[in-house]
Each structure stands twice: as structure tokens, then as C-alpha cells.
Amino acid sequence: MFVQRPDIRPATVEVLVDGAPVLVPEGASAAAAVLLAGLSAIRETPVTGAPRLPYCMMGVCFDCLAEIDGVANRQSCMVTVRPGMRIRPQHGAREAYRPEDAA
């Protein structure tokens, strides 16, 4: 669990983390937004369903894979937040096709 220091870096960008609005500083990554939102996991592994949170925050470990603005398997630590960005945890492997998206 991480907390902000708004006196040092004001939280000015609103994103949606698993549907809930979260304010984070400009320049933060989507992975940082998930940690600041206090989610217990950013993904569950495709192999055993184990929960994971970001590990390296620098694009190496791929444990921060999440769905960002509808695109799965994004390295959320490498994506800078934009206003209104939708960040969702990824449950297991990417789904190549979801009927509700096609509707």
C-alpha cells in the first residue's frame, strides 16, 4: 500500500481504477495509480490465479500487466496516466474476444 504526499506532488489527474475515480499526480504511471488506489492485486496469474502487484516498476518483470482503456496486457508501469484513463486489473490471460465488447 502506497500513500501520496499531496503537499509535494499535488494529485491533479483523475483516472478510473477498477471503475472507481482516483486522483494521482501528473506523470504518475497507471501502475502507481493502482498502488495508490490500494487494490490488493493488479492481476491474477494465468497459471495458478495467484494475485500480483507491480514488482519492478521499470518495465522488466511484466507483473503489472493490466487492461488500460480496453486494451489488455499493457505494462501499466510504462503507461503515463491521462485524465479519464480506465485501468482495470487483469484476471488471468488476456481475452482475445469478449462478446460484450463486440455488442
Partner: protein, 460 residues
Amino acid sequence: MSLAYDLAIIGAGPAGMSGALEAAGLGLSVAVIDEQAAPGGQIFRAVEAAAADPALTGEYAREGAALARRFRAMPNIDYRPETTLWHIDIESGLLSLRGARGSGTITAERVLLATGAQERPVPIPGWTLPGVMTAGAAQILLKQAGAVPKGRTVLAGQGPLLWLLAVQLARAGAAPALLLETTPGGALRQAIGAGGLWRGRAMLAKGATLMLEARRAGMKVVRGVRSLRAEGEGAVRRLAWDGGSTSCDTLLLHEGVIPSTHITRALGLAHDWDAAQLCWRPSLDEWGASSHPRIAVAGDGGGIGGWQAAVEGGALAALDAAHRAGKLSAAERDRRAAPHRQARDNALALRPFLDRLYAPAPTVLAPADDATIVCRCEEITAGQVRQAARLGATGPNQAKAYLRTGMGPCQGRMCGTTVAALIAETRGISMEEAGALRPRAPYKPITVGELADLPAAEAV
């Protein structure tokens, strides 16, 4: 038609920025490709936004901010932030990129890989639990978002970064409770024998000051920690080691950094196993030129030396690029290189001492506990790799077929060296014999849509 450059630099950290400044100053057309949104690399990450943070003073706020300012102010550099290099055609010099504005290609006569370092994986039991991160990850959160861990934070491992991070977190109001230091007793005496203490005295003094400040902030230190493990259901709650245990909300691991060799290995460049730093590094000449005539490497990606050495290495590689492009005679290149070599030697003076003092234990490379996950993507344990080695896997490239280690999303960035070390240990062979994992392009995942977006003439 792809834009053509004399020099394409991959990475906008100290080596990349310095190389770009030198090359552009000599009249080369330069493109700088970087995955981050702003220049700085890992060490100076988000320096333009965070230099005023009172938790991040010192070199970061001074030299880091100054380098980024010079880089931004330099004309004739095509700086492309938020852009990922996913393929280099080494013969034609065609670089395939994915940027904020879509896919594209450029061509470059020469390519300087300034991709820096990654933290050495620290495979301990429980290191995949939420709440366990690298020390660098916490530092990135501080630099990039001003964020700090909440609750009881424990640092574990060894190396200068842990002490720097402890001080930075303390200044940010989130002092770690405990450092579990893995350095064995006697390492200091051995390290002193490596020399360089007098030339490196300024760096030593800085380290001593950090240690004092971290302890004054209340961080306790347990020395000689062995067999560390993280425990908890769904998140880390406790840590245990030989002779001790403690509660924990956030565990930050660190056993030093190793060169990012993903691209250099994918390109098939020659590499050497560095027995002092216990990592693969590309084989380079005194200018950073690799075994392929188009490719050079500068900074920590060519061997760990720190940011000051990286700045000088970037400049040296740029001078060589200018010479190869016909802009500088060999004599003029050598004359200009002299001060950079001198500065780099000074910056590296303390390195043998640090390498010896903070050499990771054999169990960091090859975890003793068979139940330890070594491949985080495919959730493969040390025991499974040892079993594969007994069945006939002779190296990490063969192990892929047995276990899928290296075939998950990270493409072996995390497990490659660990798998090789486990196989080497089991079969009684050297790391050179086990070999380095050979990744394949795309270096980072791309979507089919991004591939389809490439201009038709260049689609492969």
C-alpha cells in the same frame, strides 16, 4: 519512407542524454528513443517534475536536473519519448518503433544502446506476494508520483541503493523500520583488499553519511541475514530468516543491478560472463563498440559503473560515431576522448571495492530452496529447473522447451540468469557453458493492430 539518422540512441538516461549532446554538437543527426515520458532514465527518473522534492536532494536534483535541462535545450536532437523499440534489423539499420502516435520506422547508420540496468532478481520464497517489490520500484514511485509505502517497511539485501532509499523515504516521512542486510561477515575486509579507496574517497564519504542519516532516522539493521523468506496469504505479512522473524507490510528487495542485455542478446551480439559482477555483459571495445559494426553500447547496459561513468561512456561512444561518420579524424576523436576517459576512470575507482563488498551470495543466483519460484511469469520453481537439468536441459535455451521458463511475458528478463545458474550448479558446468538466454523480437509485446499500422512498404 523512414526518416534516416546518423545515430539512433536507445534510452534517455545519463549515457543516452550525454551521447546525444556530444553527437548533436558534432553535427550528427540524432534520434533518441525512450520508453519514458520524460528524460532521466531510472537514476534521474522524472527529474524535471521531482527535483524540488525535499526527499530527493543531492546528485539527482543537481547534476540530474542539469543534464536533463541541457538535453532539452539542445537543437538537432529528435527526442521521441513514450516510444518503444521492438525490433532492429541489424543489417539495414531499420528500427521498428511503437510510439504514442502509433507504429513507425526510422533508419540509422549507427545505433547506440543506452538501455541501462535492471535490478538483479532476488528469488526468495514468497517474493511473488503482493507487497514485495524491488527497492528501485519504491524509489521510482517516490520520484514519479511522490508516493511512499505505508505501514511497516522492511528493506532486505545489500548495496548502496538501499541506504540511499532509506534516507529518501525517511526524508519523505516514511522511514523504513528495518534493514535485513545479507552481506556476510568478512566481506568488508576482503573488499578493502580490492583497493580504490583513496580515489573513491568522495563516494565512500557520501555512503557513510547516508548510513548515519538512515540510522538516525530510526532504521534498525540486522547483519548477515541468510535464508530470508516472505510469508502471508494474498500479501506479505511476515518475514523470517535464520534466527529471526518480523512483521512486514512492504518488503523492498535489492541485491544490486545488472546490465539490461535483452536487446543486445536478441541481436546475437557477443557477450561475456562477468565473474566480478556476476552478470552477462556485451563484449565492447574502449569506445563501447560491440561485435557488430553498426551497434555500440554505453552506460550500465555495458557493465555496471553508475551514472557518472555512463555520462562519460555516452560521450565516448558519440565521439566514435562521429569518427565513423567521417566528421572527426581518429586523432581528433582521441584528443577529445582523453578527458572523458580520465573522468570515467575516476568514476569507476570504487567499483572493485563495491563489487567485492556487495557480491551476491550463490543462493541469490541459484536459490537453495527447491520450492522457490524462479520464473515469475510461468510460476516455475528452482526444483523444477534442477529436475530439467538432470533430465538433460543443458542451458536456459533448452529449458524453455522443458518448462516454458523465458517464454512468458517478460521473455526471461527476470529468470534467465537464475535458470542458467541452477542448470550450471546441477550439471557442474560454468555459466559460460550454460549460456545466456537468446530472446527474440518483438523486444516488447505489440498488438497485431500496431503491426498492421506499419507503412505498407516496410511491413515485414
